[in-house]
C-alpha cells in the first residue's frame, strides 16, 4: 500500500524528464541571451570610448564630412566625421532593397500563387544557392564583371554606389524572397477562394487581396533585407571604391561604414583614437540593426491589429 502511495505522491519519470527538458531549453536561451549581451556590451564600450576617452563630440561625429582619424585639424581636434559613410551606407541599402523587392515579390508570387509545385521545386534550390555563394565570391565577380560593365556603359571608374547596389541586390534577394513567401503563404486560403468566387482574375486576387493581406509581412521581409545589406562588408568593400567622400552620384567612389571598418581595423592599434573611431562605426551599425528590428516589430504589431 505504502509503495503505491509513494509512487502516487512523488513525481513520475516523465515529469522529471519534463523538468529536465524544460530546464535544458531555458539554459540554451539564457546562453544565447548572454552571448548577445556580451557582444552588445563589448561593442558599446569600445564604440563609446571615442566620445568618453577621446572627448570627440558626438554631434561632430555625425555631421562632419572629414574622416581622417590619424590627423588633427587646425583646432587640434581629430577629424572624424562619419557623415559620408552614413549617407553612403543608407543609399546603398535603400536602393538595393528597392531594386530587389520586385524581383523577390515576383519569385515569391510565382512559388505561392502561380506554380506552387513546380515553382517550389525549381526556385527553392535557386534561392538556397544564392544564399550559399560566399560574399567573397560575390565581391570578386562584382570586381571583375560589374565594375567594368558600369565603366563601359556609364563612364567613370565603375566603382561606386551603383556597383555596390548591383552586388547587394543579388545578396539580399534570397532574404526578401524567402520571408515574402512565408508571409504570402500565411494569407488564409479562403481569402483567395472568396475573391476568385467573386469573379476576380488571378492577378486581381493577388494584387487586391493576397498582397494587401501580406503587406506587413512583406515590409518585414524588406527591412530584414535592408539589415542584411547594411551589415555586408567584404563584397561591398571590393566594388564601392572606398573613398571617404560625400557621394555625388551613383558613379563616384565612396565608402560605407562596413567597408571603412574592414579596411581600417587591421592597420590601427587597439586603444588608440583611430581604432576607437572604427568601433564607433561598428556601434552605428549595431544601433541601426536595432532600429531595423524595432521597425519590424512595430510593423508586425500594426499588421496583426488589422486582422
Amino acid at each position: 500500500m505504502d509503495e503505491i502511495k509513494q509512487e502516487l505522491q512523488s513525481s513520475s519519470r516523465a515529469t522529471h524528464q519534463d523538468y529536465f527538458g524544460k530546464a535544458l531549453s531555458y539554459l540554451c536561451i539564457t546562453f544565447v541571451g548572454l552571448l548577445v549581451l556580451s557582444i552588445l556590451y563589448f561593442i558599446t564600450t569600445r564604440g563609446l570610448a571615442t566620445f568618453t576617452e577621446n572627448h570627440v563630440s558626438l554631434w561632430k561625429f555625425l555631421i562632419e564630412k572629414n574622416w581622417n582619424p590619424g590627423v588633427l585639424d587646425s583646432h587640434g581636434q581629430p577629424q572624424i566625421g562619419a557623415l559620408p559613410m552614413i549617407v553612403t551606407s543608407f543609399s546603398v541599402t535603400v536602393l538595393s532593397a528597392l531594386v530587389a523587392t520586385p524581383f523577390a515579390l515576383g519569385v515569391a508570387l510565382f512559388m505561392t500563387e502561380i506554380a506552387p509545385k513546380r515553382g517550389t521545386k525549381v526556385l527553392q534550390p535557386v534561392i538556397e544557392l544564392l544564399v550559399g555563394i560566399p560574399s567573397v565570391v560575390y565581391g570578386f565577380i562584382g570586381l571583375s564583371v560589374i565594375v567594368p560593365l558600369i565603366r563601359h556603359t556609364f563612364g567613370g571608374t565603375g566603382f561606386g554606389i551603383l556597383a555596390g547596389v548591383v552586388v547587394l541586390f543579388v545578396m539580399v534577394l534570397p532574404t526578401i524572397t524567402s520571408l515574402s513567401i512565408d508571409s504570402i503563404k500565411a494569407v488564409p486560403m479562403y481569402y483567395r477562394s472568396a475573391s476568385l468566387a467573386l469573379g476576380a482574375t488571378r492577378w486581381q486576387t493577388i494584387y487586391k487581396v493576397v498582397l494587401r493581406a501580406a503587406t506587413p509581412g512583406i515590409m518585414t521581409a524588406i527591412i530584414f533585407g535592408m539589415a542584411r545589406a547594411f551589415g555586408e562588408a567584404l563584397a561591398v568593400q571590393m566594388v564601392i571604391g572606398n573613398a571617404v567622400l560625400m557621394p555625388h552620384g551613383l558613379l563616384t567612389p565612396s565608402s560605407t561604414l562596413t567597408s571603412q571598418l574592414t579596411t581600417g581595423i587591421g592597420n590601427t592599434t587597439m586603444g588608440t583614437l583611430p581604432n576607437n573611431a572604427l568601433w564607433s562605426l561598428a556601434l552605428i551599425l549595431l544601433l541601426m540593426s536595432l532600429v531595423f528590428n524595432i521597425l519590424v516589430r512595430f510593423i508586425g504589431k500594426r499588421g496583426s491589429l488589422k486582422k
Binding site: 540554451c28 548577445v36 561593442i43 544557392l129 550559399g132 494584387y207 530584414f224 567584404l234 551599425l285 540593426s289
Partner: protein, 295 residues
C-alpha cells in the same frame, strides 16, 4: 484594357522576373564554374597550397572547411535546438520574449567582421586559444545561432497544434510530446535551416580571418589523435578555409597562378555547397518518412 489582359500582362511580368532571377543564378554559377572548373583537377584537390610557386592545391583548405563546419554545427545545433524549442513551445508572449527575439535578430544582422574581432579579442587573446579551429567554430556559432534558432523555431511552429493536442491527450508529458511528436514532424524544416546556415558558414571569410587564422600548417592525415599538434583532427591548430583562401590569394597572393587558384577554389566551394544541399535534401526526405511513418 480589361481585367483579363491585365491579368495576362501581370502574369507575364512575374514570369519575366522569375526568369531574370533564375538567369542571374545561372550566370553566377556558369561564370564561377566556367572560369574555375578547368583549373580543378585531382592534383589540385589533393596537394598542399604553395606560397609562391605555381601548381598549389587546396587539400588542407578543403578539409579545414568541412571540419570547421562540422565542429560549428556540433556546437551551435544543440544550443539552437534548445533555444528554438523554448521560443516555440515554452516562451510566454511577453516583453522578455520580445526582447530575446530582437536580440537574436540583432546578432544575425551584425557584420561578420565585428563578430570576428570580438571572437579574436575574447577567445584568441583572452582565453588563450590562439588562432584555432575551435576559436573559429565558436565565432561562426555566433552568427550561425540566430539563423538556426529561427529556423528551428519556425519549423516547430509549422507543426499543427492538433499533433500536440493528440500527444498531450494520450497522457504524454509536454517534453515527450515535443521530442516524440513535434520534433520529428519538424525535421525537414530544421534540415533546410541547417543547409542554409551551413552554406553561410562554409562561405564565411571575414570572421575567420581573425579567429581560425589564414595559414594552414602541415598536418598529418594519418594521425588520428586529436590532442597531437600535427593531427588533422586537432581543434587547436590554426586553419585556413576555402573562403579565406580565396580572399588571401586574391588580395596578397604572389603565386603566378593566383587567378586560376582563386577561380578553381570558388568552383570547388560552389560544388561542395551544391552537393551539400542535395544530400541534405535527400536525407531530410528519408528521415521524414522514417520518423513520421508517412508512406
Amino acid at each position: 484594357m480589361n481585367s483579363k489582359t491585365t491579368n495576362n500582362i501581370a502574369t507575364g511580368i512575374i514570369y519575366v522576373l522569375v526568369a531574370a532571377v533564375v538567369g542571374i543564378l545561372i550566370f553566377l554559377l556558369g561564370y564561377i564554374l566556367i572560369t574555375g572548373l578547368p583549373h580543378v583537377s585531382w592534383h589540385f584537390l589533393t596537394s598542399a597550397a604553395q606560397s609562391f610557386r605555381a601548381g598549389g592545391g587546396i587539400r588542407d583548405q578543403l578539409f579545414n572547411s568541412l571540419y570547421l563546419l562540422v565542429l560549428t554545427l556540433i556546437i551551435s545545433f544543440p544550443i539552437a535546438l534548445g533555444s528554438g524549442i523554448y521560443l516555440s513551445e515554452y516562451a510566454p508572449n511577453n516583453w522578455l520574449t520580445g526582447l530575446i527575439r530582437t536580440a537574436i535578430e540583432v546578432l544575425s544582422s551584425l557584420p561578420s567582421v565585428v563578430i570576428g574581432l570580438f571572437g579574436y579579442l575574447l577567445f584568441v587573446i583572452q582565453f588563450r586559444m590562439g588562432f584555432s579551429i575551435l576559436a573559429g567554430a565558436i565565432a561562426l556559432t555566433f552568427f550561425n545561432l540566430p539563423l538556426l534558432t529561427r529556423s528551428v523555431e519556425e519549423s516547430l511552429e509549422d507543426v499543427s497544434d492538433l499533433q500536440r493536442e493528440a500527444g498531450l491527450s494520450l497522457g504524454l508529458s509536454h517534453w515527450k510530446t515535443i521530442t516524440g511528436i513535434v520534433l520529428p514532424a519538424a525535421v525537414p524544416g530544421i534540415l533546410t535551416g541547417i543547409i542554409l546556415s551551413a552554406g553561410r558558414v562554409f562561405g564565411e571569410a571575414a570572421a575567420l580571418i581573425y579567429t581560425a587564422g589564414q595559414s594552414a600548417p602541415i598536418v598529418n592525415y594519418s594521425n588520428w589523435n586529436p590532442m597531437s599538434t600535427t593531427s588533422f583532427l586537432n581543434p587547436m591548430r590554426p586553419a585556413e578555409t576555402l573562403a579565406v583562401h580565396i580572399w588571401k590569394v586574391n588580395t596578397e597572393g604572389v603565386t603566378p597562378d593566383a587567378l586560376s587558384i582563386s577561380s578553381g577554389t570558388s568552383a570547388v566551394l560552389i560544388i561542395v555547397i551544391l552537393l551539400f544541399n542535395l544530400s541534405a535534401r535527400l536525407l531530410g526526405n528519408w528521415m521524414y518518412k522514417k520518423m513520421t511513418a508517412t508512406k
